[in-house]
């Protein structure tokens, strides 16, 4: 490893710029507004993010991107997590961009320009399991017919394009025999059903019935989706871990401020050692998780083929830390923390969705165990 885990000057500037922008353009109240307006995200906000180069953060410069790398993508995700900014960033700028980049795909330019948004449709059961894919892409003439169901598709109702993992050979459970298709979200035979989730973000169920696709829709190689999907999932998992770290810091910031302000029994509750030690423990957990996330970005940038261990440590840590941060957040706020008028609930709900998306703690712990040989 050549990079230090301390941020570079450029990274500090990127973080400051993102923080400044998001504080104005997307405070936590924007999520509340979206929810109350029944809107999964604000397209105007995403346009502005694209203009700042965030949509092209992982797109090569010759395709119109900023090509800032995974550490930078993680920093942006972290800052968005801190204010719960809702955007197609992870689905489009991180996951789809990495998959298309691995396949040297022409549509990368559209991603960088903010002209398309993507959703990745992988899972069919209640847990993340790409290899379990059963959705069938049957050969038909010169092309394919896709039939089956995908669940828990993030940004699935609003995306303009869909990356669909389909089985072209073998049987559910095989890592081989899978093919990744890139199709228009409005293609005939695609039914998208919004499945409102607790975090007020866009999640959908996709039902595909005899959806026509050609070889031109295949990303990468037939029967070998994992070559392009694995890096995309690693990138998405690392950035999601970054979002959860930011979320943890956001929830912790609110909690620490409350401990300094709230008075009971004639004293500030932050003066009680029972609460001080819990706050200090939580802060420690956040610091340790931050190191794992910086490392995941570093490994993805330097030796992406070896990223599985670093990424899974980051996602597992981020999942656990976010759970602690929001649980302590509600408990230390007491009754007010349970009210919908107060923002802590938004953090708790997004943490739970983020815990499940792209592999839960157990999924990533198993990857760590496999990488460490036990």
């Amino acid at each position: 490893m050549t990079q230090s885990l301390i941020p570079t000057t450029d990274e500090v500037m990127l973080r400051d710029a993102a923080r400044g922008f998001l504080a104005d353009a997307s405070p936590v109240s924007a999520l509340r507004d979206n929810r109350d307006a029944n809107r999964p995200f604000d397209p105007g906000l995403w346009r502005e993010m694209a203009q700042m180069g965030w949509a092209g953060v992982l797109v090569p410069e010759d395709a119109g991107g900023a090509d800032m790398g995974h550490r930078a993508a993680g920093i942006l995700a972290e800052e968005m997590g801190e204010v719960l900014a809702a955007s197609p960033f992870l689905s489009t700028a991180v996951i789809a961009a990495t998959a298309l980049r691995a396949a040297a795909h022409a549509r990368l330019t559209d991603i960088a320009g903010g002209d398309v948004t993507y959703a990745l449709a992988v899972d069919e059961g209640t847990k993340h399991a790409p290899e379990a894919t059963a959705l069938r892409a049957a050969a038909s003439g010169n092309g394919f017919r896709l039939t089956g169901q995908k669940r828990f598709v993030a940004d699935g109702a609003s995306a303009t394009r869909l990356l669909i993992l389909a089985r072209t050979s073998g049987s559910p459970g095989d890592a081989q025999g899978l093919t990744l298709f890139d199709i228009d979200a409005d293609r005939a035979g695609v039914t998208r059903t919004a499945r409102p989730t607790i975090d007020s973000r866009d999640h959908a169920q996709l039902d595909l019935t005899d959806v026509a696709a050609t070889g031109a829709d295949v990303v990468g190689t037939l029967d070998d989706a994992m070559t392009v999907l694995r890096p995309a999932l690693n990138a998405g998992q690392a950035a999601l871990a970054g979002e959860l770290l930011g979320l943890s810091a956001g929830a912790f910031g609110m909690t620490a401020a409350y401990l300094k302000d709230r008075r009971q029994f004639g004293r500030t509750i932050g003066s009680f050692q029972a609460l001080q030690h819990r706050a200090a423990h939580l802060w420690s957990e956040i610091e340790i998780t931050a190191s794992a996330i910086a490392n995941a970005g570093r490994v993805l940038d330097e030796t992406p083929e070896e990223a599985a261990l670093a990424v899974s440590v980051a996602k597992a840590r981020a999942t656990a830390t976010a759970k602690l941060a929001v649980s302590e957040g509600v408990q230390m706020h007491g009754g007010i923390g349970m009210t919908d008028d107060f923002d802590m609930g938004f953090f708790m709900k997004r943490a739970r969705v983020g815990a499940e998306w792209l592999g839960d703690y157990g999924y990533h712990a198993a990857r760590v165990a496999a990488a460490r040989g036990f």
Binding site: S4, L5, I6, A256, L259, K260, R267, T268, G270, S271, Q273, L275, Q276, H277, A279, A280, H281, W283, S284, E287, I288, T289, A290, S291, A292, A294, N295, L309, S312, V313, A314, A316, R317, H364, A365, A366, V368, A369, R372, G373, F374
Partner: protein, 397 residues
């Protein structure tokens, strides 16, 4: 003489050649169990001529204290050069030429608070490995509440008379001198009446007694001062007090922070000892079919890897200019993690683990010893106090 060039690549090339020339192959890449740390001091016996030659060669270049100024026996390296030096030592499997409480603790205290004359006298003795120091902080009645130390130094005109006892004085029975917190003003508030005093262990009235722990023999001692005479100005014209009279608490606080920062700098790796992976490789693989053991092992591995990254990150932060009180987090997290690791190793080894000297060697004593990790150098609870008060700035009332 080494060329301490400013250019990193030239420096690296030079230091590599120098290490290879002076650190004998017999010293390099030794298993931790065979590797005897070189502590130096008047009663030190080198484990080989090679160990002596290596320490003396390093001392001649100031490389036993790479960051200290040249005039005080150091090499005057920059942070970046020091990092390169340590990287090359690690890469070549060369042991640190000298380790001691003088290098770790007294030296930094003298550099920050000592007079030029004190530095000139005491620091080169440390870098040359001639004088071995021990630390006299805790007392039977002053553990976490360190500022309540009662060992007193009474003013008798041209000298002090020191009476009291210290506990947990590591290697006091092998040390030549002790730096101790003593009460020089019994009427002042407890933090304001303490001085940081240097005492010759050969002085009349100093005795030591080793402490046996639940894990067996230990380097810890009790040290007793029974009317020990300490000159105010010694034969070299130096005061035996570092920093201001009654200003010892400032020195102690500075040192405690420095000590925890060094943990972050990797001076004493918290993640050393038996690794989980290596340990499991010696066990029946079937043991990991136990779902609880398996889950604990997975969680421990995740937390260990993340903590290792944190030590690296904080180490880089420390080299770039300091971590300060946040270093208490490393002490807290690292020691709690180490205790978890040894609990798991004991569970994995089953009944073998509870034998005093079973198939795993002395696993049980190692496990028992980890219980002190979250007590020594400041308890976990004191670390959490530091974090909540100084880093999070939570209110006191």
């Amino acid at each position: 003489m080494l060329d301490f060039s400013e250019k990193p690549e030239r420096f690296r090339a030079g230091i590599t050649t120098w290490i290879e020339a002076h650190c004998a192959p017999s010293l390099r890449n030794r298993a931790p169990s065979d590797h005897q740390i070189c502590w130096g001091g008047k009663c030190w016996t080198f484990d080989s001529d090679a160990q002596r030659d290596w320490m003396q060669a390093a001392a001649a270049e100031g490389l036993t204290a790479p960051r200290w100024p040249v005039e005080y026996g150091g090499a005057g390296l920059t942070r970046a050069q020091d990092k390169i030096y340590r990287e090359e030592l690690a890469r070549l499997g060369a042991p640190t030429p000298l380790e001691s409480f003088g290098l770790w603790m007294l030296g930094p205290a003298l550099l920050a608070f000592g007079t030029h004359e004190q530095k000139l006298h005491y620091l080169p003795q440390i870098t040359r490995g001639e004088i071995r120091w021990c630390q006299g902080y805790s007392e039977p009645g002053a553990g976490s509440d360190l500022a309540s130390v009662q060992t007193r130094a009474e003013d008798r005109g041209d000298h002090w008379v020191v009476t009291g006892s210290k506990i947990w004085t590591s290697y006091a029975d092998q040390a030549d001198w002790i730096f101790a917190l003593v009460r020089t003003d019994r009427d002042a508030p407890k933090h304001k009446g303490i001085s940081f005093m240097l005492i010759d262990m050969e002085a009349a009235g100093v005795t030591t007694r080793p402490i046996r722990l639940i894990s067996g023999a230990s380097p810890f001692c009790e040290t007793f001062f029974d009317g020990v005479i300490v000159p105010k100005v010694d034969e070299n014209g130096n005061s035996r007090i570092v920093g201001a009279l009654n200003g010892g608490w400032d020195v102690a606080k500075h040192l405690l922070t420095h000590e925890r920062e060094m943990i972050g700098g990797g001076a004493r790796g918290l993640l050393g000892g038996r690794s989980l992976g290596a340990f499991l490789a010696t066990q029946d693989p079937g043991i990991m079919a136990d779902p609880i053991l398996r889950a604990e092992a997975m969680m421990l591995e995740i937390d260990s890897l993340a903590t290792a990254m944190t030590l690296e990150r904080y180490g880089d932060m420390a080299r770039q200019g300091g971590v300060g009180d946040a270093s208490a987090m490393l002490k807290y997290a690292g020691t709690e993690l180490n205790k978890r690791r040894y609990e798991l190793l004991m569970s994995v080894s089953g009944s073998d683990g509870v034998e005093w000297d079973g198939p795993q060697g002395a696993l049980a004593p190692d496990w028992l010893r980890t219980k002190a990790n979250s007590i020594e150098g400041g308890t976990s609870e004191v670390m959490l106090d530091i974090l909540s008060k100084r880093v999070l700035q939570l209110p006191t009332q």
